[in-house]
Amino acid sequence: MISIKGLKKSFGDLEILKGIDIHVAPKEVVVIIGPSGSGKSTLLRCINYLEEPTEGQIIVDGTEISGEAKINQVRAEVGMVFQRFNLFPHMNVLENIVLAPMKVRKISREDAEKKAQELLERVGLADKWNAYPEQLSGGQQQRVAIARALAMNPKVMLFDEPTSALDPELVGEVLDVMKELARSGMTMVVVTHEMGFAREVGTRLLFVDGGRIIEEGAPKDIFENPKEERTKAFLSKVL
């Protein structure tokens, strides 16, 4: 589904990603963990070209990303959920969700709204369709953001620390939606600090540090038997 080869990314002289290779199969839930500044968010943002790789190849669902038209085409198939939600504050929940399907997929408002209602039902916010983002809690906003991404019928969902900006008591409701999504067979790449989620839902865990993948494998194995010193040091701090 996603194939990344030799991905490098520099900001000026600073090399953030130093050669990354990842293959994500359909229905996999790949969880990326690592200390802040390790490059894990940059890695995720390279997958849909929010950051342009300095070097390397990224293929999503058979399409190599290159050129503006291809980028838009691939982005339509790749949903992204941000740490800060990034809902559109001047639109209500329903408008937030139907905008892209109508503009990108060219589907009718009627169909888009029907789909939006179904998705709101799925994330448990059916009654909030006419609320504005500011009237919602962080957890509700993030669930709307997930529904907004799902409205495009993406083949892959990327999550960039989706619970990091939330009050602790609101984390659970977002993780529940993500778990349900994983169970439904969605291919997911998740950057997170939620180790419980990584262990429970992840089919594969990547530990990233210093712009490289230090260790990868089944979450259970890595949590219980980390092989690399850096992984051990990191896990001892967060577990």
């Binding site: 838009n72 339509a76 990034n86 559109f88 504050p89 905008l99 892209a100 503009k103 990108v104 500011e134």
Partner: protein
């Protein structure tokens, strides 16, 4: 000296006719200015370098030279080049509109850059084009924020439009001059002209304050 209220009353119809013309050129100029300014403002932050430079040159030129000189260039100098006289009305609106566009461009540029960059990322990550994201997501948010500075620009332009009296265009200031030439009532007429300008600018600032309040509420929701 004596102050003739009769003169004020008798001059009022002509002055108000002029005021209506002032409002008309200001409204048309600001509309032109907003259209030009929107595109120039976006060009100023464009990734396309020639576009960015062209917009910067435009903004610098029209903000860096007096409007009066710009009016002279358009009304007196340009016809020498084209061999065709320009209607004062067209000249007035062109000069004021293009001039105002330079200021509006900077207002929009600031408004657009003030929108959180996560908004552009969210739009693009959904597969929307840059143009669509600008149109449906960034500009509507920027527009709400630029209402107050746009209002100031509107007021400034309304006052500056008095400059087009120099090309004989009969707006409020010019009509005042014409009445004084006939009646020598400089005190009565200039004070009346000033009061009429004041009423117009105050009305605009009230209207802007109302818009600001209304849009701020809808931005919050």
């Amino acid at each position: 000296m004596s102050f003739s209220f009769d003169l004020v009353i008798n001059s009022l119809p002509l002055l108000l006719t002029g005021a209506a013309v002032t409002v008309e050129i200001t409204a048309l100029s600001i509309t032109l200015g907003i259209i030009i300014g929107l595109f120039a403002g976006i060009a100023r932050i464009s990734k396309i370098r020639p576009l960015r430079y062209a917009a910067a040159v435009y903004v610098d030129f029209f903000r860096g030279t007096p409007l009066l000189v710009q009016i002279f260039i358009i009304y007196f100098a340009l016809p020498l080049l084209t061999g065709q006289r320009i209607d004062p009305f067209i000249a007035a609106i062109t000069a004021c509109g293009i001039n105002s566009g330079a200021y509006v461009a900077e207002i929009f540029r600031a408004g657009i850059t003030s929108v959180d960059k996560g908004q552009m990322e969210a739009g693009r990550s959904l597969g929307m084009t840059w143009v669509d994201t600008m149109r449906y997501i960034i500009i509507p948010q920027a527009f709400r924020r630029v209402i107050p500075p746009l209002g100031n620009e509107f007021i400034a332009l309304l006052k500056d439009s008095s400059l087009v009296s120099v090309i004989g265009f009969e707006e409020l200031t010019r009509n005042g001059q014409l009445i004084i030439a006939r009646t020598y009532g400089a005190m009565e007429i200039w004070l009346s002209v000033a009061v009429i300008y004041l009423i117009m600018t105050l009305s605009i600032s009230r209207f802007v304050a109302y818009l600001e309040k209304r849009w701020r509420v809808s931005d919050k929701h």
